[in-house]
Symmetry: D2
Subunit: 289 residues, 4 copies
């Protein structure tokens, strides 16, 4: 009896985004449509993409209906292939955790946006390995958690932060200038859910002090990159990048100042895309529908 109730509960009327990726085959879109029809799903929006190099097919569907996710997934899996990846996302304000270290510009910008209802997400908490941003965060009445890393190994610190995050069950973790490296265990727990802002036009200047190295190299453009975090430093799937022109009169400090403004801008644009369920990760790239 309880099982039936549970199933009934799960099979209610809902609106979801469904991403499918699998090996392309003839008639694939027609087959996907047929499954949707068989489950009485109304299709609200649809976009397809074929990666000709790998012959991998991608589809983003906004669907509406009275369905059990697992039974829909089962049908697709059965019909399409064993390599299929399916990914339901909810069309609602995501819940996020922000990780920061010392720099106020990205977090400050998000706090202002949040205070005036312009963020399109709910900030559950802000976690930092330093106390310096506590007074700023508390001005905005957001919970600030300080987890000191001084006496802990990297593993221990990561695990403490992860444990705290797990309590909140966030949809996304935003590294808004978090100057610590995440362990692979941490990343595995939030695969394609962790977004970092790096202060260079990746893949240039991976790692520490990119602005200083940009200055030394004498570049004429600097930039920032928002990307998902994977196990390789600054090497995850890129979501958004943009740049600013500079010239020889810019000292390292000038570059940092302009760079901060570009970072804010790039992070904001990437979060807009993610929070509207438009981004799909494929290998080391993003498909942005």
């Amino acid at each position: 009896m309880s099982i039936i109730n549970k199933n009934k509960k799960r099979k209610h009327f809902k609106k979801k985004v469904l991403f499918i990726s699998c090996i392309h085959k003839k008639g694939i879109i027609n087959q996907i449509m047929t499954i949707c029809f068989s489950k009485f799903l109304e299709i609200l929006a649809i976009s397809t993409y074929l990666d000709v190099d790998t012959n991998i097919f991608f589809i983003r569907l906004e669907i509406q209906g009275c369905f059990q996710e697992c039974s829909v997934l089962y049908l697709f899996r059965d019909l399409l292939s064993s390599n299929i990846k399916l990914n339901f996302q909810s069309i609602k304000k995501p819940k996020i955790i922000l990780l920061v270290t010392k720099e106020p510009h990205c977090i400050g910008n998000l706090l202002i946006k949040n205070k005036f209802g312009h963020l399109n997400a709910e900030i559950l908490a802000i976690i930092s390995n330093h106390k310096i941003l506590k007074p700023l965060v508390e001005l905005f009445n957001i919970p600030f958690h300080y987890i000191n890393h001084d006496t802990l190994s990297d593993e221990e610190h990561n695990s403490k932060v992860l444990k705290l995050i797990n309590k909140f069950k966030p949809d996304y973790i935003i590294l808004a200038k978090y100057m610590r490296i995440l362990t692979s265990n941490f990343i595995k727990n939030y695969n394609n859910k962790i977004i970092n802002i790096h202060h260079s036009i990746l893949p240039s200047f991976i790692g520490a002090r990119p602005y200083f190295r940009a200055y030394k190299r004498g570049v004429k453009i600097i930039g920032a990159t928002a990307h998902y975090v994977n196990n390789y430093l600054d090497s995850g799937p890129i979501i958004f990048q943009d740049i600013a022109h500079i010239d020889h009169t810019y000292t390292v400090n000038d570059i940092v100042r302009v760079g901060h403004d570009v970072e804010q801008y790039v992070l904001n644009r990437a979060l807009s895309l993610i929070f509207s369920n438009r981004v799909l990760v494929f290998q080391n790239r993003t498909i942005i529908f």
Copy 2:
């Protein structure tokens, strides 16, 4: 007997892009799919867009099958609404006519691309109201037609040019710095088929001498706009725009020089989009799938 043959001839296996736009209604994508299924069309690619302001729905379909265009169109028209617009495009290299006046940079760039097979279109002819570019064009063995406007009224000149163009039955007419205004009759004959490159970030500096006016206004960025031509000067649907940063040291000549490079670039990017059947015109805007 001849009728049957004709029909048979028309109902052969083909690959087309179909754009549909109409008032949105519940279940519209499902209905469109159902029609495709009833005609045994394989859907190769699909993208939808809903303009929330106007409640107009757009879909781009790449379809393949053995069908008569008119009978497919008939079904859609019947099912969807009286306001529906349907537009089949062929997936093949388009045939184009270039109109130019005196400036060599856009035409020169397209001629070089064409010579090395990088244009993705077939240049049928180049028409000009001046002789100055004839030697350049003839280096590349493209037919050059000179239609003097000195002794003709605007109407007469337009009509002469139109008459010549009609012989070629081009898919698109590219105004690669054509410094003449087209009559509304001319435009009506090639509705959403005429692409112009204007040397400003429209809607700023509509009309003559935009670079000089940009200089006088002291702007810090200049740019170019590729747009479809409609009946209002420099006011048609915009396809692509881009910019260059300038500073006070740029004389009008410097601005012109940089501007020419931006014009080439913007025209190229717009033509790439059009030649790959990705652009749909809606009111005064473009939907770029």
Copy 3:
């Protein structure tokens, strides 16, 4: 005796930026140097610019020495021409007043920067014709002055705001999204001292609701312009402009959101230039040394 003291006081060792503009004539740089030498001025930095169109010559000098400004100016005026304009600026953190209305993004960004010492200016006060930003401003312990405009004529409101500003003797007034038009009397009092951020790539979309009009026009790039305020709406000398690429999927709200980020960025870059004494106004343009 008091006069001598006063003179002595004024003739102390100092560091200043001097801008000179006048009709160009042969040997002008040599003459300017000669004057500097005669006053024992050490030249720390120097840049010249000749506007070939108007034959107006510009020079920016960073000088150091023990001098009376008036006597230096007197010599230049005497030697060069009656059309000369001379402008001493102090090399120090400028004092600024911010004027705002309802939107938090520009002011929020400046408040965060200021809190962490990244602004390179001192905010004396924030003045608004609405109360809505008061709580935000007060989080940062900056004086907030509310001057209601409901019961006042434009002239009266402007004069009240001006009166308050005059008390502070600011070096610059920043309109960080101030949605009121300044009277010519107001502007005259702070000629080339008032900086506005306008949310379009001027001269496109002068006036109200530029983002809405950009959306309606179907532009593919939006942008922002930081400019000095003169007597004509959104028509003063431009300091900095930048853009963001958008596409048809951006609703007006999406454009506004991206636009806000561009506005912040453009205002920041313009203020950096101004606060480092690099901007000279000439007619309706800026020379940025």
Copy 4:
């Protein structure tokens, strides 16, 4: 008697750009001015820059007068320091040699510009290690020299090309997509006189196939870099860089196509700067006055 004549010949009225760089010291600008005065030089334009990190001072002077270069240089060297670098440049159309391999877009663009007098330089010859561009170049009546590298070692090929170039005594050598590495001996002969266009936002994607690697990395912006050639691959002083936004729908071929347009644009802007004597090389950076 012949010596006197020779000296007289060298000491005629001329207009030159003089770059000086040396360790900064108090009063340096005043001292430089004093030397100019002592030689009766009229200063037409002047710009200074101090690199605060290294304490190196830079000045660009446009001077006019009746002088022997060596005696002016002697005075500066004597007064300023042993570390001084002095560099006279002529204000006139520079003579250039273009080196190419197989790709037509950069060379084509320069040939079109040159044909219509928009290049601001004189093309002496075009040299290639392939025959493929010969027909294109000959359309424009520019001498084309083919130096096959198949049967030669790198050293031998470089030395043959260098020998040919030396006959022309060019001011600059432009590598307009020259896919060969220059020997250090070659570079030494034309130190800071060789300009390359690389198809990435350096320092990302140094070396071969940058577009393919950009595609694989899933970047959202691509770009090009014009730089002086030094002994390290793609690592010389950067002159100009710019970018284009791309998305996941761009295949490698699409990226190449857009990239070619960006390359042309970036090379053009860099050459404009160089041909107007505005670029000074300092360590691995460029000062652009």
